[in-house]
Symmetry: C2
């Protein structure tokens, strides 16, 4: 086996260490000299680029326009919306000097850009003709976190933040859910990760939002990862920032807002949903390299290399593929591309040339498929679909296995997974479970019609919703 793999911790032995091993060994990141900030290396950044391309296309289909706001926010602007500043002030980085001068007003490096969008909207929105305004920006933000872990929690991270303005509450609410639906489809169809969609409780919602919707995923270790959120703001920010528009009857009105975001945390979700002891398993849709072609014993047999190039030419228009004809050992090559989660490996040796065939190896199952080179494209296309289905189903089975329906508080004890139950929806019960077991509410799921029980298992009072609890990243 290659030198890369032998150094990584087994997934069952220490999940957290396995995760950081994979992140480094697959060359996704390098730790920088800045506390809590990582460098995205070419392979890690390429995954993020692929994610941004897919989402950006989906966003543009629903009318999203990209813009760019400054990265610095004057302190007084951040203070305009009370809940918002309370939520973010403890965790921002402050610029206090420019060149050699002390600034008269501190500027924070944006932790999120609601206030910048609001002050812009206030200046540029005049009439109903200007609405809806459906804006987004791709950027990085800074939150002064005490502890950090690559992709999961870092001082600086990349994300997209959408901010929209609508003439009616219903239009804004619909848009909030439309974006949640785009995220949901992206996770299930492109990342092959099953999701639970729902609403956050009062105590878990975004600072300043009226309602927060969320995409929750279960990682292999049973913990939850909040993977994308979409917020309905009502007109709370619009009021704070005095945003007005003239309606068709020439009357002044206050518009309604949303915001929605997804970050490089999604890469953590990919790693911890699909990875195994050999490293990453990347969903084909976002893999920087989808097919790696490995010629075997080609130094003594130049037809092997010719055949490899022939296969490359057959595949290159449909897949991101590459031939590795370096002088590394075969074992090391196999281990490297397994570590990097390349979905499909094509092996071509001298005997394969003679029989006009090759071996296709699936990264997810390590299954080997003998394939005639005549229909290699179709076989790989089909194999990609099978990989997508399989890795989705593996996640789903894991989630089903690790989700319990609780009827008493003690079921939280020692459970590594989701706890679903009827709930009184009080912050007291939430707080109690958080302190006692480390479980937080993830969401009130959308698709539940019936209450699991009429009573909350924690306080015994009447239940009003079903809810998911989990330990979360």
């Amino acid at each position: 086996m290659g030198k890369l793999v032998k150094d990584i911790t087994s997934i069952d032995q220490d999940f957290a260490k396995w995760y950081t091993d994979v992140v480094v060994k697959a060359e996704l990141i390098d730790y920088s000299e800045v506390r809590g900030c990582t460098i995205l290396r070419p392979y890690g950044y390429a995954i993020w680029e692929n994610i941004t391309k897919i989402l950006d296309d989906e966003f543009k289909k629903v009318g999203v326009q990209n813009v760019s706001m400054p990265m610095l926010i004057p302190e007084r602007l951040l203070q305009k919306e009370k809940n918002h500043i309370e939520g973010f002030a403890p965790e921002v980085a402050w610029v206090t000097m420019g060149g050699k001068e002390n600034l008269t007003e501190r500027l924070c490096v944006r932790p999120t850009s609601e206030v910048l969008f609001c002050s812009h909207f206030q200046r540029v929105v005049h009439s109903w003709r200007d609405l809806p305004m459906i804006y987004n920006q791709w950027c990085s933000v800074v939150r002064w976190e005490k502890t950090s872990r690559p992709f999961l929690r870092s001082v600086e991270f990349h994300w997209q933040e959408g901010h929209t303005l609508h003439s009616s509450p219903n239009e804004a609410k619909d848009f909030t859910l439309k974006m949640l639906d785009i995220y949901s489809k992206f996770f299930t169809q492109k990342l092959c990760i099953p999701v639970i969609l729902g609403k956050k409780t009062e105590s878990e919602k975004f600072a300043g939002a009226e309602t927060t919707y969320t995409v929750e995923c279960m990682m292999k270790d049973g913990k939850a990862l909040q993977s994308a959120t979409s917020h309905y703001f009502g007109n709370r920010f619009a009021n704070a920032f005095d945003i007005k528009f003239t309606n068709k009857n020439n009357e002044e009105e206050t518009p309604y807002q949303t915001s929605w975001g997804l970050s490089t945390r999604v890469i953590a979700a990919i790693i911890m949903s699909h990875g195994d002891d050999d490293g990453l398993i990347l969903p084909p849709a976002i893999a920087p390299l989808q097919v790696i072609i490995i010629p075997i014993n080609f130094s003594k047999n130049k037809e092997v290399l010719e055949k490899s190039h022939e296969i490359f030419d057959l595949l290159k228009d449909d897949f991101k593929c590459k031939i590795d004809d370096s002088d590394e050992s075969i074992g090391s090559k196999f281990a490297t591309y397994d570590m990097k989660g390349v979905p499909i490996r094509v092996e071509i040796g001298p005997r394969d040339v003679l029989s006009n065939s090759c071996i296709i190896v699936r990264r997810d199952t390590h299954e080997k498929i003998k394939c005639s080179t005549d229909n290699i494209k179709e076989t790989i296309l089909q194999t990609v679909r099978e990989i997508e289905n399989n890795i989705y189903n593996v996640c789903l089975e894991n989630r089903n296995k690790k989700t319990i329906i609780a009827s008493s508080e003690k079921e939280f004890e020692n459970h590594a997974g989701f706890v679903k139950m009827a709930f009184c929806n009080s912050s007291e019960c939430e707080q109690k479970i958080k302190e006692k077991y480390g479980f937080t509410t993830r969401c009130i799921p959308f698709d539940d019609k019936d209450l699991i029980s009429d009573f909350c298992p924690i306080c015994g009072k009447k239940s009003s919703v079903n809810i998911y609890f989990a330990k979360a990243y």
Copy 2:
């Protein structure tokens, strides 16, 4: 005429005011509440997106890999290369607080990322197999400028910065010039702006570089805009950061570096190269909207709208096009799209429907072309080529007209344009001309074989190069 146009200053009356009028009226930017930082609005950002897509594709063809470095740099890291810190320290923004705590070491918001790339290279480069490393990042940087003008000079601006590492000086030098060539072709072929390529003098080169190459363009007012630069670093940074690699003979060597960048200044170059009293004139390759279809008198004649959609369908696969069927007046629509620099307008009225034709109007010359709808695609394709040639030639004529070959110092007086002359290449003469006339050296051009004169017109000493001087943005 529309309300947009009547408010802008004439280009001949006040070029600077015309520029800022256009930037705002064409809705490229909004001024933010942060000193020196502007908001890129959808139309402005879309131009930048188009620029980034074209360049990113070209970069990737020569093996560039995108990465992402942190936006914060610890002070001690910035200080590692002496010339570099001297060049940048006076103009950085300092983060001194995180949350409520004072930091033990200040962090600057990156003004450029050489030092971050170097410290990363030091950690990840081991052997000749790792070279060349050809990295780039698209990001924004901050420089604490006292004065600011949209796209030209601002506290925060978007750019790309490429950083590469090579095993030999020649390979690094070649790569520096290869990137300059990509920029040059981008300016001439895509932006339709003629360029002068050359080398910066010692006093004008980048802080820390051994050689700086530049793309210099002349704006309509005769001033120069440095539009892209490519630097050869030798192994100065590599030594400062102790970057080593093992060569094929298993000996330790120091690699050679380059960096190269292009920023949103390029949008200023587009505006000031091509614009006129009606607003922007956008080169078709980067125009967010290439063809605007305007139905005329369609409320009384639904066939006009049908025909407009028919034409839209004929064009939509080849051009970024849109139908404007809003209830704004025709005059206001014409003025708006002229202001926004949309290269081609297609007008369709009731009579055009009857004759199966339409009117194509060129933004650059306002020329009207009657065209059968049967071959509208071909006609527009050809018109696009003609626009590209014409706007390039208009720039070239302007530059030729405003470039003088000087044989005496007094020719600088009252000249609004480039001054080309033989030069002793001393910083004393450079300094004298800068102080007396406000002209700086732009570059020592590549393509000059013969010295204009054997003597420098300023000091009378022997000349060694030809050079361009200009007042510069």
